[in-house]
Symmetry: D3
Subunit: 153 residues, 6 copies
C-alpha cells in the first residue's frame, strides 16, 4: 500500500523551513501532498493563488510532491486522498504543545491517521512565516528566509 | 528500497507507551528494529536479558519487528543495519528539547539518517520507565503501566 | 467557615475536561461556583445562555455546584461570593505559565484569595475549547470531546 | 469528613518557599502532614533528624500542621493517614511537567487521592533546596533563603 | 566607541518590570534609548503620547536614558541611532522562545546587532502590560504594577 | 569604570557554542574572564589542565579575553575580579529556567552583580558539552562540534 502523507499548512508565505522539511520527508513517503488550508473567513497576508504558485515552483522537479488546497477538517481531506499520514515540522517546545494537541485531536477523530513529526534543521528553526510576514510588512529583505527558487515582492 | 527504522532505548522496563509507539509506527516502516542500548558502565534496574525477553514476547506476532541490543553510537548502528530512520516518541515539551538536540546531533554525524517522531497517546503520556521503576522499587503495583502480555516481578 | 471556590472560565463550549475537573474538586470544597466570564465586547462562539444551560444540565445532580455568570475582575466576584479560592485546571506547561501569572496577579490584588490548581486527567489533556470549536466550525463530530449529558448542535 | 493533606518532600533543607506554601494551604485543609520522604539508599545533604527538627520549629505554633517521616509509596502513606489530598507547590513549567507526571501516576495507583497544586509566591520562586545546598556547600550565606525561625549551620 | 542600546517595546502601559529592567541595564551601556514601536495600523490601549510622557517622567533624572518612538524594522532603527545592542527582558520560558526567535531574525537581518537579555527580578516577573491592561479595563487598581512616579487613570 | 564580565562554566569540553558566545560578547565588555569552575569533588570528563589549555589556544589572539579557574561561589569570584557582570548563553527554554534561577540567586547574594544573557546562534544551539562527551565516549567524531583551532583526542 502506497504511503501518502498530507502536509497541511497556511504557507503564508512558504519558508526555507517548509522546503527543508519536505525534502527531509521524501525518503519516508511515496507521495507528499502539500495542502494549503483555505478558509474564506480568515484573512491571509498573501493570496492563495500566489502561495500555491510558489510551492509549485519550488517542488516542480519532484513528481512525488503534489500541491493542493483544501477546506474543512484535515482528517477528512486525508481520507479523501487515501493519506494515512499527516506530516508536520517541530521547531521548538511551544510548537510541540500546539502540534501535539492537534495531532491527538485528529487521532481521536480518525484513529487510522497518524501524525509524523520531523524536527527542523537547527539553522532554520527561527524561520517562521509570521516573522517573515512581519519583516516584509516593514519593508525588510526576506530573501534569506525563503526558498531560493522563488521571488516574493 | 526497504524503509527500516531503529527504535533505540533502554526499555528499563518496557512500558505501555513503548508498545503503543511501535504499533502506531508499523504502517510507516517495512521493518522496525527495537534496539536496546547497552552500556556496560551504566547500571540499569533490570538486566538486559530480561528487557530483551520482554520485548520479544510483546512483539512475537509481528515479524516486521526485530529486537536487538547495541552499544556505541546510534547512527553507526543504523548504518550497519541499513536503517535510514530513527524512531522516537514524544510525550511532552521537555522530551522534545532533549530528543530534538539528540536528533540534530545525529543528523550532523550522519545527514542521511532522519529521526521520525510520533506523539504518545494522551492516556499513556505519563508512563515513563523511571516512574515505573520508582513504583516497583517501593513495592507498588506496576501492572497498569506495562504491556499486558508480560509479567515483571 | 465554608470553603467556597469559584471556577471562572468562558466554557465556549464546556468540555469533558471541565466536567472532570469539577468532579475531582468536589471533595475539596463545600461549594463550587462555576462562573462564566461575560464580556459584552468579546465575541464568543456559542451564546452565553446556551453555555449556562449546558453547565446546569451537566451538574444538575450536584447541589454543591452552582452555575453563574459575572463580569469585572474575578477577585471582586470572589469577594462578593465569600469565596476564598479560585479553581483552575492545568493541562500543560504553557497553561501553567499563563495561569500562574494570572494567579499571582490575583493574589497581588487580593492576598486573601488563593488559586488552587488540579491537573487534567491524562486522557483528557488534549480537550481544549478552542480545538472543539475548530472541529465544530468545520462540521466535524465533537461528541467525543463534550460531556455525555448534553447535545451541542 | 476531615480534609487531610500530605505534603511530601525531601526538605533538604526547608526553604522560605516550603514555609510559604504551607501557610497558603492552611485555609484549604483541616490538617496538613509535612512528610519527609526517607530512603535509606539515597544520600541527603542534611541528616533527617535535623530536617525534621527544623520543620517542627517553624510550624510549632500551628497545631493543624504535623511533621512526620515516611518511606515507600506516597499514596500508601496517604491511605494510612486517611489523607485524600497530596499538596505540592509549582514554581515553573519544568516543575509542572515533573509534578504533573507524578500526580497522574499517583492518581492511577489510587484514584481516590487527588494532588492539589498551589503556585509559589513570585518573590520566592527561585528558592529551591538544591540551589540553597549549592550555596551552603561553597560557604555562602543562605539565611535569606530559609525561614527566619531556624538556624542552619 | 560608545555602547548604545535600543530597548524597543510597546509599553502599553509601562510597568514596574520595564522600569527595573532599564535600571539594571544602566551600568552596562553608555546610553539606552527606550523606543516605543509605533504602528498606525495596530490599535493600542493607551495613546502613544501618554506612553511617551510616562516614560519621560520615570527616567527624567537619568540623562543616560532617552525616550523615542519609531516605526519600521528595529534593526533599521538601531542602525540609524548607531546602536549595536538591543535590550530585552526575559520573564519566563515562553518569553524566551518568542524573544529568541526575534533576536535570531534580527541577527540574520543585521549580524552586527546583538540582543542582550536581562532577567526580570523575581518579584516583578508577573507584571506584564497585558495583565495590567486587563485589570485596568475592569476598573481594578493597577497602582501596584506601575512605577511609583506616574499616575495612570 | 571598566566593564568586566565573568563567563563561568565547566567547558568539559569547550564547544563551538562557547566560542561563538564569547566572540558575540566582545563588543559589550572591556574584559571577559572565562572562569572554569573547579570542584575537586565533582568528576569531570577532561582534566582541568586540558580544558584551560584549549580555551587559551582558542582566544590567544584576543587580549581582552582572560582564562582562569576558580572554586567557591561565582559571586565571590566576581567581586574579587571587580567584575560586575556574569555572562551566560541561552540555547533553549530549559536552559532559561535553570540559568534564570541561578541568576536570581546570585542577584540575591550580591545585588550589584548582573547576569547578562546572549542567545546562541541558531546553527549552534544543539552543541552542548554533554552531547559532545557522549559522542566522544562512543568513539564518534566530535570535530564538527568543537572550535576549529584545537584538537581533542
Amino acid at each position: 500500500m502506497k504511503r501518502i502523507a498530507v502536509y497541511p499548512g497556511t504557507f503564508d508565505p512558504v519558508t526555507k523551513g517548509h522546503e527543508a522539511l519536505v525534502l527531509k520527508a521524501l525518503p519516508l513517503f511515496d507521495e507528499i501532498i502539500i495542502a494549503i488550508g483555505h478558509n474564506s473567513k480568515k484573512q491571509t497576508y498573501f493570496p492563495i493563488e500566489k502561495r500555491k504558485a510558489w510551492l509549485e515552483t519550488i517542488f516542480s522537479n519532484y513528481p512525488q510532491v503534489k500541491i493542493d488546497t483544501f477546506d474543512g477538517l484535515t482528517v477528512n481531506y486525508c481520507k479523501e486522498k487515501n493519506a494515512r499520514f499527516i506530516l508536520r515540522g517541530l521547531r521548538n517546545p511551544t510548537d510541540f504543545e500546539y502540534e501535539g494537541n492537534i495531532a491527538q485531536a485528529n487521532s481521536t477523530l480518525n484513529p487510522e491517521i497518524e501524525t509524523v513529526f520531523l524536527i527542523s534543521n537547527p539553522g532554520l528553526s527561527i524561520v517562521s512565516s509570521s516573522i517573515v510576514r512581519e519583516i516584509h510588512r516593514h519593508g525588510g529583505d526576506i530573501s534569506q528566509f525563503i526558498p531560493s527558487g522563488i521571488i516574493i515582492e
